[in-house]
Symmetry: C2
Subunit: 170 residues, 2 copies
């Protein structure tokens, strides 16, 4: 059966964690998972656990958070290398589930275009299930996706000035 395309977007908390949960569920079913992260380069707490599982391959294609600044040539190069590598992985069919974490943000900051993202997704091996996360998903991606959830922030303690905490946000 054709693998589906999932998109988790919106400004609420739960996009990357939902992708992690999907990865864990897939592992429980005996699948192999490739979890690629754009933008991110820091050590998030979840990385140790995902890395410790034989069936999950995790790789980061970012240098950390540039969100408050403009992306540099290095940021762009890292993301484009990531998209190329993930294109090969998607085409190979070696992993039944492939996550492109924060790919929407990479598109939003023009590290690569939504057309380039769609190309690598469309050229995947038929059975591969794809998960794309990040705020501000492009309409073109939403149109191509089979499943789209928008995480809407109803309330967030960031509004109360609480910074990101290890083990909960990072």
């Amino acid at each position: 059966m054709q693998g589906k395309i999932h998109v988790y977007t919106g400004n609420g908390k739960g996009k990357t964690t939902a992708a992690i949960g999907l990865a864990i569920r897939a592992v429980g079913a005996g699948f192999r998972v490739f979890f690629g992260q754009f933008i991110k380069g820091r050590e998030y707490s979840e990385i140790k656990v995902l890395d410790s599982l034989d069936q999950i391959e995790l790789k980061q294609y970012g240098r950390g958070c540039f969100i408050r600044n403009q992306p540099t040539a290095e940021d762009i190069a890292a993301a484009r290398k990531g998209l190329r590598e993930m294109g090969e992985i998607l085409k190979s069919g070696d992993y039944q589930l492939v996550v492109l974490d924060e790919a929407n943000i990479a598109v939003y900051y023009k590290l690569f275009s939504v057309e380039e993202l769609l190309d690598v997704i469309k050229n995947r091996a038929d059975h591969v299930e794809v998960v794309i996360t990040g705020r501000k998903a492009e309409q073109k991606l939403i149109e191509e996706a089979d499943l789209v959830t928008r995480m809407e922030e109803i309330k967030h303690y960031y509004q109360q000035g609480l910074a990101a905490r290890t083990g909960i946000e990072k």
Copy 2:
């Protein structure tokens, strides 16, 4: 610091998977996690993986899905026993993160009341972070929560008649 109350609700895919992702992140930070599931009693794929992690305790307080029927006395008893047990766990402070998966659905089907749910949450040890999932979160719970994300279904392949698949939905 006071642990926060998270609510993941709405009709979109990603609520339980977000809770699983939070559990994995917390484990990566060295936390102990209690993952309690109401309603659910079947073997979901993720259970094997969560159970295999020393820092996660997982328990189900349901007999499977009654969603298309009315809950029986047994369903109610299982949920109420779960809420009692989780009340003790929340009060003990032994786990830094406690997930009450599908507790909103248990309230919706009147297995217990939202006031009973709020009681066990409010009586938790101060530092415990709490995660509640399920569609149809009650307004009273949303008011008490520190973080609320509504997962909105923009598109779902269920609409195309695709049944739940092992490794992706279960």
